[in-house]
Amino acid sequence: MRKTKKEKQQVFQWLLLIPTVLFFCVFLVLPFVLLIVLSFRDIDSMQNLLDTYSFSHYIEVFTSDIYIDAILSTLGLAAVTTVLCIVFAYPAAYLLVRAPSRRLRALFYILLVSPLLTSVVIRTFAWIVLLAQNGLINDILLKLHIISEPLSLLWNMKAVVIAYVQVMLPFAVLPIATSLSETNPNLRNASMSLGAGRIQSFLKVTLPLTIPGIISGAMIVFSLAAGSYITALLVGGRMQPIFPLSIYQQVMQVFNLPLAAAMSISLVFIVLIFVGILGLILKRWEARMHG
């Protein structure tokens, strides 16, 4: 009698799950499969689809200087963004976890989450207001007579990095804060009572224990930075060698969908490789810490 009840419950739970699985199969897995097929389809000189398949688009992606350059600088951009995010996220996470009062902690959370709840377009627009030729920073610097000519702060990679760090920082702070809050403060106290200095205790005890948080933050930030295009387009301009931007332009301006598909699939695999390596390091590290 009880068993049938349990079975009934299980059937019910499966029924609850199936619509979502179907939704994701149709609108996430299927488009991805279609993109893979499309990326192998040949086109004629007028960009009409032909019925033959080949690696031609992939060969174009990985032999043309423009695309290789764009891939490399995108990886560089993602790496720089990730490192900066982790470096800045650590003190922010520390404050979040060690805040002396609940009120203060809530305030830090609000400061951390409110950017996440504001559209990327809006946050990017704010950087334009700040960095433009007649923007706020130039205005202030001119009025303080620090500079006599407005600096050109916008439309370059530095602007993209600044905006990326601001947009993606919360994704690095949260996992680091989680792993910081899970570390036992007694361990650090033990290390210090055994004569280790504060910096030494941090490097030898706290930091290693928070490596998992750092790596999962890095995984998210890296994949976001390697795949975004809105901020890059608005702050960096159309000429920056950023791969997702090249893909966007292939679709919206050149209308070469098969090449864009090959570029997209390449991007996904490149990101997967890097995130996969980080994941492996994480697994290794956890195995070393716990076993």
Partner: protein, 268 residues
């Protein structure tokens, strides 16, 4: 000796706190800038401010294009939020209770829109919708938004479900309730905070979604972020400041609701 150590300690502590606070200021800086310049009378905001003006707000609400977009964005949010919340709640509940091979695969599939390059999601859906003949329609936008909102709903609801004791459900079943009745009368009321927080996240994410919308919308279905993108891309238009303030007000509301229902620290 001990005193010296403590002094060094507090110096280091102060340094960490200063850096941390600077990082938080950096995080909030764009929002402060927008609020500041939305009420500024000149095209480019000046510091110190030269006056106070609401003219950018009247410019937004006097422009039929912006009103159309506002309408599209609100409709999207109203359709996307309940659909995502219902499907997402059902899915997170069963994923928490069921044990089967491939469960992790399904979990990572549902969370994957957070990590997949947005440009790829956009092109994939653009291609699929074009084949189906629905690209540029409201349905296309609804689906695109749902994909992006799903991970947030599943994450917040999962937190609530994992705090829920399965014994309560068992008790309800033993007292003769069907699985469906148990789900409605016991489970849902108990995980309500997670569902509500998920709904808020979903609504805010849908309202601000741009990366996929840009690919799958038509001139008649331009949401507020997509129109904003167009304006910024072509010219510098200070009415964007007023639009931005609307976004910020919405996110402040969202923050308050999440904090009051489930607590920010729990969902993130």
């Amino acid at each position: 000796m001990a005193k010296k150590a403590r002094k060094k300690l507090s110096l280091l502590d102060t340094l960490v706190w200063i850096i941390g606070i600077v990082v938080y200021l950096f995080l909030i800086l764009p929002i402060l800038v927008i609020v500041f310049s939305a009420f500024s009378p000149s095209e480019y905001p000046e510091f110190p401010p030269t006056g106070f003006s609401l003219k950018w707000f009247t410019a937004v609400f006097g422009n039929p294009q912006w009103l159309d977009s506002l309408w599209i964005s609100v409709i999207l949010l109203i359709i996307v939020t309940p659909l995502t919340v219902i499907l997402g709640t059902m899915a997170s509940y069963s994923l928490a209770r069921l044990n089967f091979r491939g469960k992790e695969l399904i979990q990572s599939l549902i969370l994957s829109p957070l990590m997949i390059p947005q440009v790829v999601l956009g092109i994939g859906l653009l291609y699929l919708f074009t084949m189906m003949g629905i690209n540029g329609s409201i349905i296309a936008l609804v689906v695109g938004h749902m994909i992006v909102c799903f991970p947030y709903v599943v994450r917040t609801v999962s937190v609530s479900v994992s705090n829920l004791n399965p014994v309560l459900e068992k008790a309800s079943m033993n007292l003769g309730a069907t699985p469906m009745q148990t789900f409605y009368k016991v489970t849902i009321p108990l995980i309500k905070p997670g569902i509500l927080a998920g709904a808020v996240f979903s609504a805010v994410t849908s309202f601000g979604e741009i990366s996929i919308s840009l690919f799958v919308s038509a001139p008649s279905t331009v949401s507020v972020p997509v129109r904003t993108f167009g304006y910024i891309d072509q010219t510098f238009d200070p009415t964007i400041n007023a639009i931005s303030v609307i976004f910020i007000i919405i996110s402040v509301f969202a923050l308050v609701i999440i904090e009051k229902t489930i607590g920010l620290s729990k969902v993130m």
